[in-house]
């Protein structure tokens, strides 16, 4: 059960980060100017084009991914992984880092 939770948390977290940054980054490039995530302006400072994907969506996805990682960390504090504790002990006794 915990193994499934570990894998689901890591997979979901990584997926959200990669979708927010890479996948939607590709969408933004395909959508045309502006290729960045900020509006394009002319010399007068007027906005002439908006990014294809709202930066709030992208930042939200990334932060959601990191939040899941954080929640998983809290879960691991509450339910320690026995394997990791054993490895830490073994590392300590053999002097490895």
């Amino acid at each position: 059960m915990t193994d499934i939770i570990d894998k689901a948390a890591m997979a979901l977290s990584s997926a959200l980060l990669l979708v927010g940054i890479v996948v939607l980054g590709v969408v933004e490039i395909l959508d045309g100017v502006p290729y960045g995530a900020a509006p394009s302006t002319n010399e007068a400072g007027e906005v002439i084009a908006q990014p294809g994907v709202d930066p709030a969506i992208r930042t939200g996805l990334v932060l959601a991914g990191l939040a899941i990682l954080g929640l998983w960390g809290l879960y691991r504090v509450a339910v320690p992984a026995a394997g990791i504790d054993r490895r830490t002990t073994a590392d300590a006794t053999t002097g490895t880092r």
Binding site: G25, G36, A37, P51, L66, G73, R97
Partner: protein, 174 residues
């Protein structure tokens, strides 16, 4: 994590395979990140003490962002706390990383700070991957790797009796 024979791309994690430079580099990275935050915090303390008034107004200006509701509430409901905690926490997070004590806890704090900077600064002219996001990811990396174990005080603290008796404390160190 053992080598997964069903997935050849899932390699075994072993820092020693990266060579002797890896722990030195992680420690160097930790100190550099620590100095980055320590400098940001201590210069605020020198200039305005525990009255960093730009903090609450910065948070209030984050309305409309994904962290807007939390940021605006913090900026309006607890401005005095924000004015004090920003320079203090930046300084302490920096010091903790430099000497390598409570690195996971300090990195979590740094990551939270950087999340607000990344979203609040919104300097996305060259894309969402900017220096603020890199800073955020650096803190997460130090947290995940337990960077305090490498030439840091956490390596000693982890072996103390209270920590050995209460292994959950190890989540704060490392």
């Amino acid at each position: 994590m053992a080598y997964n024979v069903s997935n050849p791309l899932d390699g075994e994690f072993d820092l020693r395979r990266a060579g002797p430079l890896a722990p030195v580099w992680i420690a160097t990275l930790r100190v550099v990140v620590g100095w980055w935050f320590f400098h940001a915090g201590v210069t605020k303390l020198i200039e305005s003490g525990l009255n960093f008034t730009a903090g609450p107004s910065y948070l209030q200006g984050m309305s409309g962002t994904v962290l807007g509701p939390v940021a605006v509430w913090m900026g309006t409901a607890i401005p005095g706390f924000i004015e004090a905690i920003v320079p203090l926490a930046e300084t302490l997070i920096g010091l903790a990383l430099i000497v390598g004590v409570l690195v996971r806890l300090a990195s979590l704090g740094g990551a939270i700070f950087m999340a607000f900077f990344w979203v609040g600064n919104a300097e996305f002219g060259h894309g969402v991957v900017n220096g603020d996001l890199m800073g955020l990811l650096l803190f997460v990396t130090l947290l995940v790797l337990g960077a305090g174990r490498y030439y840091g005080i956490d390596a000693v603290l982890e072996r103390l009796a209270p920590v050995e008796n209460y292994p959950r404390l190890k989540h704060l160190f490392g």
